[in-house]
Amino acid sequence: MSRKAVVIVFPGSNCDQDVAAAFAAATGQQAELVWHTEFSAHQAPLAILPGGFSYGDYLRAGAIAARSPALDALREHHRRGGLVLGICNGFQILTEAGLLPGAFARNHCLHFLSQDVSLRVEANDSPFLADFACGEVIDLPIAHAEGAYQPDQSHPDSDGRVALRYCNQDGAVSAAANPNGAIGNVAGLLDQTGRIFGLMPHPERNADPALGSGHGGRLFRSALQAVSHLG
C-alpha cells in the first residue's frame, strides 16, 4: 500500500478533483479518486470525503450518501487505524453517518454562502492539526447552505471535540464572526481518536498560495506526515 490518500467520490460530489489536485500539489503525493462503491478499508491510510452535493443534497445534506455501503467500509478503515477527513459535504456525511456527533441545519441566513472566514484552532492533538498551534488563527473559504452545526443534545457527552471555531481576524469567537449560525461557532470537529476530522471550510480552495492564504496546504501536509509511516 504505497498510495497515501484516496478521495471517495459520491454521485454529486463536486470538489473531488479539486481536493485530489490540491493534495497532490501540497504534498507531492497522489490522492486517487475512488467511486464510492469501490472504496474498501485497506486502500490508503487517508480517506477523504470531498465537498459537493452528494445525491443533490436532497432530503438533508449528506443524508443519502451516509447510507452508502462506502460508510461501512469507512468505519472498518477507521477501526484499522486509518485517517478520515470530511470536508464540507464530507463533514455532513460523517455526522449523518454517526461517525461524528451532531447534525447540520440550514445557514441562518437561509441561503448558500461563499466567502473567506477566519478560524481559531481549538485542538491540535490530531494528525490533521499537528502542524498548527492551539489558538492559532487561520483563513479558509467556506461554501455551503447547510452549515449551522447542531450538537446532539440528547447525548451531550458524545465524543466530539471541537477543533475549529469561526472567529474574527484577531481570534475572538463571537456571534459577529459566525457566518452560518453554528452552535458554539463550530467549524471543525474531531472524534475521540483524533483520526476523524470533519470541517466545513474547504482547505483545497486555498492550498495554493495563488488562490489565498495557503493554509489549506499546511493541513494536507500535516495529514500526510501522520500517515507517511503507514502504508
Binding site: P11, G12, N14, C15, A22, D57, F112, L113, S114, E204
Partner: protein
C-alpha cells in the same frame, strides 16, 4: 385523432396549411404539433435570422461559429474554449427559481454538447425595483435558482451583472453564459453524419413537463397557459451526473455526434443534428424512457424535460455507452438510427406517427425581414442632469452602487480551483493551466443607451467588453450576445433590434473579434409595456503574459488618474464616434500599464461615467478624497458624467511615474487626486461640483435588491 394534451390553436392553422403545401399531403396532428413548435420564433429565429447574418464569425481562432450549440475558439496548446450566452426570461417570470435554474442547465448543456467540460458561469440579471413584493420575489427567486443549479453542478459562477429598473418590473431578464474547456481531440459535431449509426437518448426520463414551452416563450406570458404545469423543474444532481457521463463517453471516443435537448425537445435536437449532417433519422418513440403514463407521440417528441442529451454512436459501442449511463444512474436507450434518406421518421412501435423531410422541419419556418417594418422610436430618453449633484443624487438613490455581493455571495465562485479573480472587481479571471493561460470573462449591457441610441449602444457594448478585458489585462478573442427585446412586430422594437445588431456587428468586425454565438429573446414585457431593449454581450479574452495576478498594496498612499481620450463634448451621453484604431491602441497601452510596478488597478469608465468609477474605488479602498478633472477633459459635467470614450481609471502608488509613462506613451493623462480621508469631493479645474461624506456612498452600497 387528436392526441391528449396537445391542442392545435387556431393561430397554428396557417402553419399547418404551409406544412401541408410543402408536403403535398395532409399532415398528421403529431406532425402539425412538431412543426408549430419548431417553426415558432423561439426555435426558428424567424424574425432575427436575416439580421444576425451581419455578424462576422470567422477568424483564425474560430473552430465552431454560430448555428451549433456553443461557439468554439482555439486558445492554443491543443485546447479549445466553448462559450455561449442564453436567456431564460419567460420561464423565470412565471417561476423564478426553476426558471433560472433550468436556464443555467440549458446553457450548460449547450456547452457540454461540444464535448467540453463546463468551467465557468456568468449571469446578467435585470429586475424591477424592490418595494413591490412580486418583484422582490422574482429577484430573490432568480438568484436562488442560479445558485441552486450552478452550485450543485460544481461550475463556479465567476461574474455577472445586476440591473434594477422599473422597465423590468414583472419582466425579469435572466441571461446566463457558460464557458467550457476541451482538448481539441474532444470536439464533437452536433450532427448525425453517418447512416446506420445509433441515436441514443441519455439523462433524465421524459415527462410531460414544459411541453410547447418553446412556443410559449414566443408569446405573451400573460396568456392562458391551460391547466398543465408548464414549469420545467431543473435537477442539478442529474445535471452533474450528465456532465461526468458525457466526459467519460467523450474521453473514451464513444461519441460521433452530440446534441442537447432544449426547446422542442427530441424533435429539435434530432432534426437539427440530421440537418447539419445531411442525413435523416428514424426514431421509435416506444423506446424513449418515460416518466409518465400514456404519453402521446407528440408529447414525447416535444417534451422539454431537462437534463437530457442526444448521442450519435457506432452500433457496436451501444453496450459500453449503456454501461456508462448505468454507472451514473442515468436513463439511456437507443431510440433510433441515422438514415441516408434525409427524412425524419417517428414510429410508435409499428405505426408511423410522423414522416417529414428534415429540411422542412429544420429550415421550413418563415423568415421575416424586419427592415420593411422597422420605424425609429420617438425617444423620451433620460432627462439630462443640470449639475453633477443631480447626477449623483440619481445614482445614490438608485442601485448603481449597491453592493453586488448580496447576489454573488450566494454563488460558489471558486469550485474547480480556477478562479484567480473572484467576482467583485471587474472581469473575472479563470486560469487554464492546461493551455498555459488565464481567461478573462465579462458580461455587459447598457439598456438605457440601447433605448436611446441603439446603434451606438451596440458599438459601445463591444468596446466596453474590450475595455473591461483590457482593464483586466486581457485581449478579447470572442463575443457571444444575448438580444432581449419586446415584440418584434412592433416597428420600434424591430428598429432598435436592427440598429443594435448593426452596431454590434460593425464594432465587432472593426475590432476583429468574432461573434461565435448568441441568443435572441423577443416578446419580453408584460402586455403593452415593453422592457428596455437589452442587448447583453459576453466577452471572452486571454490575459497577456507578464501581468501580476496580485498587486501587493502596502498601506501606502494611492492616487487616482484618468487615462485615455477626452470625454465627449456637449451632451454628456452623446458618445463620440468610435475610433476603433484608438481603442485598440488604448487597450494595448492599458495592458502594458498593468505590468508596471506603480499600477495597482485599472478600471474602465463606462456606465455612470467617471463619477461611478471613482465612487467604486472610494468604496473599494474605503477612502474619500478631493478629485478634480482638467480643462482638456471638457467641462466638469461632461468630464464626470460622460459614459463613452476610451477612458480608464488608474489606481497608482506613484502618480509621477504614471504621468511619465503616459507622456512617453503619448496617452492622455489627468491626475485626479489622492484617495484619503472620509469626505468625497468631485471638482473641475475651477470649483467643487459635488461633495458628500464617504458614509453616504456606503449607505448607497448597502441598498438591497430585495427585502
Amino acid at each position: 385523432m387528436a392526441e391528449p394534451g396537445v391542442r392545435v390553436a387556431p393561430a397554428e392553422l396557417s402553419v399547418r396549411r404551409r406544412l401541408e403545401s410543402a408536403l403535398g399531403r395532409a399532415a398528421t396532428d403529431t406532425e402539425a404539433a412538431m412543426v408549430s413548435v419548431l417553426w415558432s420564433e423561439h426555435c426558428s429565429y424567424g424574425h432575427s435570422k436575416l439580421a444576425l447574418r451581419q455578424f462576422a464569425s470567422r477568424g483564425p481562432r474560430v473552430r465552431v461559429g454560430p448555428g451549433e450549440n456553443a461557439g468554439v475558439v482555439d486558445i492554443g496548446q491543443g485546447y479549445l474554449l466553448a462559450a455561449k450566452i442564453e436567456s431564460h426570461n419567460h420561464p423565470s417570470a412565471v417561476e423564478p427559481v426553476e426558471g433560472a435554474a433550468t436556464g443555467l442547465g440549458g446553457i450548460m448543456r449547450d456547452v457540454l454538447a461540444t464535448g467540453a467540460r463546463p468551467i465557468a458561469f456568468l449571469d446578467a440579471l435585470f429586475f424591477g425595483p424592490p418595494g413591490v413584493a412580486a418583484d422582490e420575489r422574482l429577484a430573490q427567486g432568480v438568484v436562488e435558482g442560479v445558485a441552486h443549479y450552478a452550485n450543485a453542478v460544481g461550475v463556479p459562477t465567476v461574474g455577472g451583472e445586476v440591473t434594477v429598473d422599473p422597465a423590468y418590473a414583472q419582466s425579469p431578464l435572466v441571461n446566463a453564459m457558460c464557458v467550457g474547456l476541451l482538448p481539441e481531440s474532444h470536439l464533437l459535431p452536433s450532427a448525425a453524419r453517418t447512416a446506420g449509426e445509433l441515436v441514443v437518448l441519455l439523462g433524465s426520463t421524459t415527462g410531460r413537463d414544459g411541453i410547447a414551452g418553446a412556443s410559449f416563450a414566443s408569446r405573451d406570458t400573460s396568456q392562458d397557459l391551460g391547466d398543465r404545469p408548464q414549469v420545467q423543474v431543473g435537477d442539478p444532481f442529474r445535471g452533474k451526473l450528465l456532465i461526468e457521463a458525457v466526459q467519460v463517453l467523450v474521453e473514451r471516443g464513444l461519441l460521433s455526434g452530440l446534441g442537447d435537448l432544449g426547446a422542442a425537445g427530441i424533435t429539435s435536437a434530432a432534426a437539427e443534428m440530421a440537418q447539419r449532417g445531411h442525413r435523416g433519422m428514424t426514431l421509435d418513440l416506444a423506446q424513449v424512457p418515460l416518466r409518465e403514463m400514456a404519453m402521446g407521440p407528440a408529447e414525447i417528441l416535444l417534451s422539454e424535460s431537462q437534463e437530457r442529451m442526444l448521442l450519435v454512436i457506432r452500433p457496436q459501442d451501444l453496450p459500453q455507452v449503456l454501461a456508462v449511463a448505468q454507472h451514473f444512474s442515468l436513463a439511456a436507450a437507443a431510440i433510433g438510427q441515422v438514415t441516408a434518406r434525409q427524412q425524419f421518421t417517428a414510429l410508435l412501435g409499428a405505426q408511423t406517427v410522423a414522416d417529414l423531410p428534415v429540411e422542412v422541419l429544420a429550415e421550413g419556418a418563415q423568415l421575416f425581414d424586419l427592415s420593411s417594418l422597422a420605424k425609429p422610436p420617438v425617444v423620451a430618453g433620460r432627462t439630462q442632469p443640470a449639475t453633477l449633484a443631480e447626477w449623483a443624487r440619481g445614482r445614490l438613490g438608485g442601485w448603481a452602487l449597491a453592493d453586488r455581493r448580496q447576489v454573488f455571495e450566494r454563488y460558489d465562485d471558486r469550485v474547480g480551483l480556477r478562479t484567480t479573480r473572484l467576482p467583485g472587481t471587474g472581469a473575472a479571471w479563470v486560469k487554464v493551466p492546461e493551455a498555459l493561460s488565464t481567461l478573462a470573462l465579462s458580461v455587459d449591457s447598457r439598456p438605457w443607451l440601447s433605448a436611446t441610441r441603439a446603434r451606438q449602444a451596440g458599438r459601445e457594448l463591444v468596446l466596453e467588453g474590450v475595455r473591461n478585458l483590457a482593464a483586466a489585462g486581457a485581449r478579447a478573442i470572442a463575443l457571444t450576445d444575448c438580444l432581449n427585446f419586446g415584440d418584434p412586430d412592433q416597428p420600434e422594437v424591430a428598429w432598435s433590434f436592427l440598429e443594435t445588431v448593426g452596431g454590434l456587428a460593425e464594432a465587432a468586425a472593426a475590432m476583429a473579434i468574432p461573434v461565435i454565438g448568441g441568443n435572441v429573446s423577443f416578446y419580453n414585457g408584460e402586455g403593452a409595456r415593453p422592457i428596455l431593449p437589452t442587448p447583453v454581450l459576453g466577452t471572452v479574452g486571454l490575459r497577456a503574459d507578464g501581468i501580476p495576478d496580485r498587486v501587493a498594496v502596502d498601506n501606502g498612499r494611492l492616487w487616482l488618474a484618468l487615462v485615455g481620450s477626452r470625454a465627449a463634448v456637449g451632451d454628456p451621453w452623446a458618445l463620440p464616434d468610435p475610433d476603433y484604431a484608438l481603442e485598440t491602441e488604448m487597450a494595448e497601452a492599458v495592458i502594458e500599464l498593468l505590468t508596471l510596478p506603480f499600477s495597482v488597478a485599472v478600471e474602465d469608465v463606462g456606465d455612470g461615467g467617471l463619477w461611478q468609477a471613482v465612487m467604486e474605488q472610494a468604496l473599494r479602498w474605503n477612502l474619500g478624497g478631493h478629485f478634480h478633472t482638467a480643462d482638456d477633459q471638457g467641462d466638469g459635467l461632461e468630464a464626470w458624467c460622460a459614459e463613452g470614450g476610451s477612458r480608464y481609471l488608474l489606481v497608482t502608488t506613484d502618480p509621477e511615474q504614471a504621468g511619465d509613462w503616459a507622456t512617453g506613451r503619448g496617452v492622455p493623462f489627468c491626475l485626479l487626486g489622492q484617495l484619503a480621508g472620509d469626505q468625497m469631493t468631485c471638482a473641475d479645474s475651477r470649483a467643487a461640483l459635488w461633495r458628500a461624506p464617504l458614509s453616504q456612498l456606503k449607505d448607497a452600497a448597502q441598498r438591497r435588491f430585495w427585502r
